[in-house]
């Protein structure tokens, strides 16, 4: 009886481990599967550098997906998984650049350019507003000969 229980328990445990993945190779837990898909889409496949490891078919992408899956099943955080990847492959492995001091210029440059553009627009607008409004201030007069400058605008 003791042995039967032990065998039953072993079977149950084995079953539990095997069933972390379902028939389609997806993680059984839908929350984990969602995180898995999100993370693998954000990691660059370094062999075909414009593809994510979620999209790529090369062996490295497959092995990195396995790594992500294993870390998720070991209850690791998203940050820990990204850290694992950047420690080995560098920042380039991430499609989404994290906001840090050294990446500040990447995140900040659009705003700097926007500011430069705004300054230019304001200066041009001010310069124009200072110009005399001469064109259409004088209404076309009846005496003007046909084809003269006053009627051309």
């Amino acid at each position: 009886m003791k042995y039967a229980m032990l065998i039953l328990l072993t079977l149950l445990l084995c079953d539990g481990a095997a069933r972390a993945l379902d028939a389609n190779g997806q993680l059984e837990d839908p929350a984990l599967e969602a995180r898995y898909e999100d993370i693998t889409k954000q990691l660059r496949c370094l062999v075909c550098q414009n593809e994510s490891i979620a999209d790529s078919n090369v062996q490295l992408a497959e092995d990195l997906r396995r790594q992500v899956r294993e870390m998720l099943l070991a209850h690791q955080s998203d940050a820990a998984i990204f850290d694992f990847m950047t420690a080995r492959y560098g920042e380039f492995v991430r499609f989404n650049t994290p906001l840090e001091t050294k990446t500040l210029w990447i995140w900040g440059s659009p705003f700097v350019l926007l500011l430069v553009g705004a300054v230019i627009v304001v200066r041009v607008a001010r310069a124009r507003s200072r110009m005399p409004i001469d064109d259409d201030s004088s209404p076309p007069s009846a005496e003007a000969p046909p084809g003269s400058a006053s009627g051309s605008r």
Binding site: L46, R88, Y89, G90, E91
Partner: protein, 179 residues
């Protein structure tokens, strides 16, 4: 005044950008490794020629060695083999191989046919050690110093020229500094 200087400055900026960005000699697929200067990731694998023997980096502690990642599926590795054999004959440092994502029989046949430049070859069929070392292709060659730190990484097939220019001076420097 600055109305004239601005276009010139912008032009010079573009020239600098193009010289670096469009340089045909730059391998855009070669990525800088974040592991340079860091301790080499620990590994303990079986020897590709003899599954009962282990290959690990604790046994290599205290000596400068070369760590060369390859596989029988890698065409460029075949190209590299000749240079590796010549480098091995110089007997400067041990060359440790990492055969990853591979089949043991195929790897054994490869070493028999092309010659074996390696002191030992670690067998990594699941690519776990390769991932730890940030390897994303083959061949990739690392240089590890006596303190167990990675001091250099070279991506693409090794040549004698690269060996003389990039590896030998670093090996000497590492030995001189006692590392």
């Amino acid at each position: 005044m600055w109305k004239f200087l601005l276009p010139i400055a912008a032009f010079l900026g573009l020239v600098v950008l193009f010289v670096f960005g469009l340089n045909p000699n730059r391998d855009i697929r070669a990525l800088p490794s974040p592991l340079i200067g860091k301790p080499a990731p620990a590994f303990n694998l079986t020897d590709v020629l003899d599954p009962s023997r282990s290959v690990n980096n604790t046994a290599l502690q205290g000596q400068v060695y070369v760590f060369n990642a390859w596989g029988t599926w890698c065409v460029a590795c075949r190209e590299e083999q000749e240079a590796l054999l010549q480098i091995a004959q110089q007997r400067v440092v041990p060359i440790i191989g990492l055969d990853f994502n591979d089949d043991r029989n195929k790897a054994q046949r490869w070493l028999k046919q092309l010659g074996n430049p390696y002191t030992a070859v670690a067998f990594d069929p699941e690519e776990r050690t390769a991932i730890d070392w940030g390897i994303y292709g083959a061949p990739e060659t690392f240089l590890v110093d006596g303190k167990g730190r990675i001091i250099f990484k070279f991506i693409s097939p090794l040549t004698l020229e690269v060996w003389q220019k990039e590896f030998l001076p670093r090996i000497e420097a590492a030995r001189r500094s006692g590392a």
